[in-house]
Amino acid sequence: MFTRFKRVLKFAINDLGRNKGILIASIFVLLATMMLVSGIFFFHGIMDYLITQIQNKIEITVYFKEDVKEEDILMVRDEIIKDFPEIKKIQYISKEQAMADFKKKHKDNPILMRALQEVGKNPLLSSLNIITNGDPLQYESISKTLQISNFSKMIEKIDFFEKKDTINKIYSIISKVNIFGIISGFILVLMAVLVVFSTIKLTIENSKEEISTMRIVGASDWFIKGPFVIQGVIYGIIAFSICFFLSGIISYCLKPQIEDILPGFNVFNYFLTNWWIFVLIQLGFGVGVGVLSALIGVKKYLDI
């Protein structure tokens, strides 16, 4: 068994060494398509970041009546966190903090500042700002639960119902972007697979006569297929090594430019934190498509 494997490995390596043109062409095609697949993953990362940024901007605010004490609001906050684990962030804003924020925001608007002086006292209310994963149903569920709970008598208003249409619209856009991303990614990966498959099939077609001779002398199917499959693995590993190295270099070089367009998104950091996913995608794609194409390509001539 081991001798047979050693022989198959030797045939594969000898053939590669004697067909450098085919080796380079196959690796180049595999590399180009692998870069495309990696590009899709980078794009997915960018879209994910953008969507998270937008989702973090969507929030609902629960305003409390003027006489409600801070400890009661904090108790409501803790209860909400307990009941709704999907909440990403919940922040208590005291009326003093709200006033400070208001003044800071409108310091250049003299009309508003004068109006505030005329009122004489702080008209703003203490509140809880709630951020979930952006699903309008979750916001609606939180709002409804608060309205019918024991805390409802402490609550002045919840602004969900004013923001409902906007939240729905943003959520629908995000969902459509996600679906578009999945479909376009799938189509591109499928195209990449077909391109690699056609290239490797062509290289095997080149060996059609050879396969026929191997059959005549009584070689077993695996003795014939083996070298092609190993060549597929070698194409995949070489293309992966180059692609992984290039992905690191390109993400490092494009880091400043992408940060200019998307502040806070470090593309090189994204590559480093997801390096194992890149390894899985690139190696899986390269070796998987290489081996599968070899198996299908050879099978055609073994079945004749």
Binding site: R7, N14, R18, N19, E209, R215, I216, V217
Partner: protein, 226 residues
């Protein structure tokens, strides 16, 4: 050794290559199969090797019905047969040494034995000095000698030669046929498919004549009559 029982091979309704062909080749026989180009000789050879399956009828190799055996058994049968073709069917990306070694590797022979036997047989057929050459660097006669070395290296029980002299000059053709005769004298079964009148008439062995896919003559000491 080889038996055809009412074998028919049809590629498409309009292409009937063999029709109702029956014959038997005994162990140690030398049988020539003759016929014009397209008479069905190569199809017959492919059927013996299990490279094609009959549309109807049965083919037996050493008692085994090829219609009923699995792929592994067919491969085993092919390893018991040495084949020589007009177009040599060499492995173009392997050297002379590797072409011969390949069939021994397929057979599962030990590496040491391969290293010992391949140079020996290459010396016998006069290709020792071309051991590292590729088939594209050999002349027609050398290619055919290499194909013969490959066919013989595993000491097969049966030799099948499909138009082995088709691409050779008279001298090389005579050499090949003489070698086939010697192999037959040493006890091997030889099946020679050819349309070379001169070779058949000189052999004085059994001749099966095929015309339009049918056996029209089967004579113990036949001549080429078409």
């Amino acid at each position: 050794m080889i038996k055809f029982v009412k074998v028919t091979k049809i590629y498409s309704p309009n292409t009937v290559v063999l029709k109702d062909v029956s014959f038997e080749i005994k162990k140690g026989e030398f049988v020539s199969i003759v016929g014009k180009s397209g008479a069905g000789k190569t199809t017959l050879v492919n059927l013996i090797l299990g490279l094609e399956m009959p549309t109807e009828g049965e083919i037996y190799f050493d008692g085994l019905n090829l219609n009923e055996v699995d792929n592994f058994k067919i491969q085993e049968i092919r390893r018991r047969v040495g084949t020589i073709y007009q177009d040599y069917k060499l492995l173009p990306k392997k050297t002379v040494y590797e072409n011969v070694a390949y069939v021994m590797e397929v057979e599962g022979r030990e590496t040491e034995e391969i290293k010992r036997e391949v140079p020996k047989i290459l010396e016998v057929i006069g290709l020792k000095n071309k051991i590292n050459n590729f088939p594209s660097e050999l002349s027609g006669g050398e290619k055919q000698r290499l194909a013969i070395a490959r066919a013989l290296v595993n000491s097969p029980e049966v030799i099948i030669a499909d138009e082995p002299t088709g691409n050779l000059d008279p001298y090389n053709s005579y050499e090949v046929v003489s070698l086939l005769k010697k192999l037959n004298e040493s006890g091997k079964t030889v099946v020679l498919a050819t349309h070379d009148r001169e070779i058949i008439n000189k052999l004085g062995k059994r001749v099966i004549t095929i015309e339009e896919g049918k056996i029209v003559r089967d004579e113990a000491e036949g001549r080429f009559i078409i």
